[in-house]
Symmetry: C2
Subunit: 334 residues, 2 copies
Amino acid sequence: MDRKIISVKAEILRELRNTKGYISGQEISDKLGVSRTAVWKVIQQLEAEGYDIEAVTNKGYHLISYPEILSSGELMSRMTTLWAGRRVYYHKETESTNEDAKYLAEEGMEHGSLVVADMQTGGKGRRGRTWVSPAGESISMSLLLRPDFLPDKAPMLTLLMAISVAEVITGLHRDLDVKIKWPNDVLVNSKKVCGILTEMSAEPDYIHHVIVGVGINANQTLFPEELQDMATSLRIEKGEKVDRTALIIGIMEYFEYYYGIFAEHLDVSDFVDIYDSYLINKGKEVRILDPKGEYTGVAEGINDSGALIVKLSDGTIKTVSTGEVSVRGIYGYV
Amino acid sequence: MDRKIISVKAEILRELRNTKGYISGQEISDKLGVSRTAVWKVIQQLEAEGYDIEAVTNKGYHLISYPEILSSGELMSRMTTLWAGRRVYYHKETESTNEDAKYLAEEGMEHGSLVVADMQTGGKGRRGRTWVSPAGESISMSLLLRPDFLPDKAPMLTLLMAISVAEVITGLHRDLDVKIKWPNDVLVNSKKVCGILTEMSAEPDYIHHVIVGVGINANQTLFPEELQDMATSLRIEKGEKVDRTALIIGIMEYFEYYYGIFAEHLDVSDFVDIYDSYLINKGKEVRILDPKGEYTGVAEGINDSGALIVKLSDGTIKTVSTGEVSVRGIYGYV
């Protein structure tokens, strides 16, 4: 699958970024098949957005620096994926990116479309809980998927996203202690930095669409008092600001890669080892809030379906499917 | 759970219907706790809609006859259920009752709310196919459910609805040969009279809502030529018009009853016998369109999960889950 040009602005930004020295308006115009006037107009726009672009007669343009902002141009110019996040719908402010993605799904937007917002006014957590996503500090994004597998496989996509997020944070910030709390919270130093809300619209044997929503505490410096014991941000743990665009792009890359592997077997057998390596509950006592009665056991890892394997004190092995129960460990409620 | 008054009009109609002789405006007023003026206004409305109501001084009102129409007043006045279809949203014409029910779901309408339309302009079948629902002849309805069980149980609701429809048609029209084609088409004389489209909005471990859409060919007298071999109406098979309101009410009664039983075990073990008694495929050869390769066998019935049990010629038993495959028997494609 070849990359196709979705946004001229993003492509021009990509050319500027990939050029060590200078690139002329004519070169860009030839490469992208757009007029020189169009190139010039985009350069003006980019400068207005805070990109520092040097223009030298007979040499061309040179990108000196770019602003620390989230924007669709910035995201799409740096995106290297084939489908995941290739088309970005960016909002400075929106109620909920999952709701936006649902709307795009109904409008027929393609598999892999990504909604990103700098701020959500009504961010959603699981089961209708709220998720706080302040301006300029957080990442709120929702990926629209149109899988051709059966609805009962969809919950595993949540695990794939959790691993993707964990891998990218680890890759970009080697000094951070990244863990996953089963099934899908990502923690740093035992506090939550990322929540995932997967929503599906389906018939019994046919998925209309799946939306994987991801909220990341990136650059917050302060949390409400009642959350301070449970939540943190990458910036707080790292002691410096992180590049949100790099995180988003990295997550799309990992997710696209993992999705391809997953689609072959439709189970998480290829991901058990990596998931377990992040699993904060592994080898620890967990309390299973089964509707038929609570019980405790030691979490041993996940199985090929993504269920948590729990060993009871009498040696019995139980598997806890995504959502069948809640798990309470020493780290509070999932 | 007591029945609560949702529509004064429906309750007044119910009183008129349940009274053999005459009931005075004062009696109705006292019974329902509404003013006599309100009672009088509703009587006027009903007469305008075609209800023939006799009014005799010092005796009161007497319902002589009622029109053969679908209306929320007619439906709600005859509805005897506790929750299924207790609140009816009736449209003379709408694009799709499933879409309407989705909208109501987002607006927070309660479990059991029912959308009914006399005609759909964009009726939906499974997987985006179309469903024809002409004015004055068909039944198009969508029941909104908010189950508290897990999403993987929801496909079985389709089977419950199929049995409900089959039971009601059989009960009201004993002379018709009613069958179910697995998983959820209802046939009369081997032709389709009812299709069911179940749609769900869910998180991996939490159902937002389920919408069970039901389309019934009730009083059509003619089908497009390309459908004549596959589809029929109750009127065509019976040779006379059927009462659509009675069908809708009956289906709500059966579904409410079956839903209560289903909710106890969350499987269809209590329904296997009755389902199999309607199963047109039972004991017949079926062709399973498995993505891994077609095969044929003899359908033996369903199991506790609603899957079709198929015996291959070498004696092997296979179970075909809802949606895993298509089944082609001697009756065309499901």
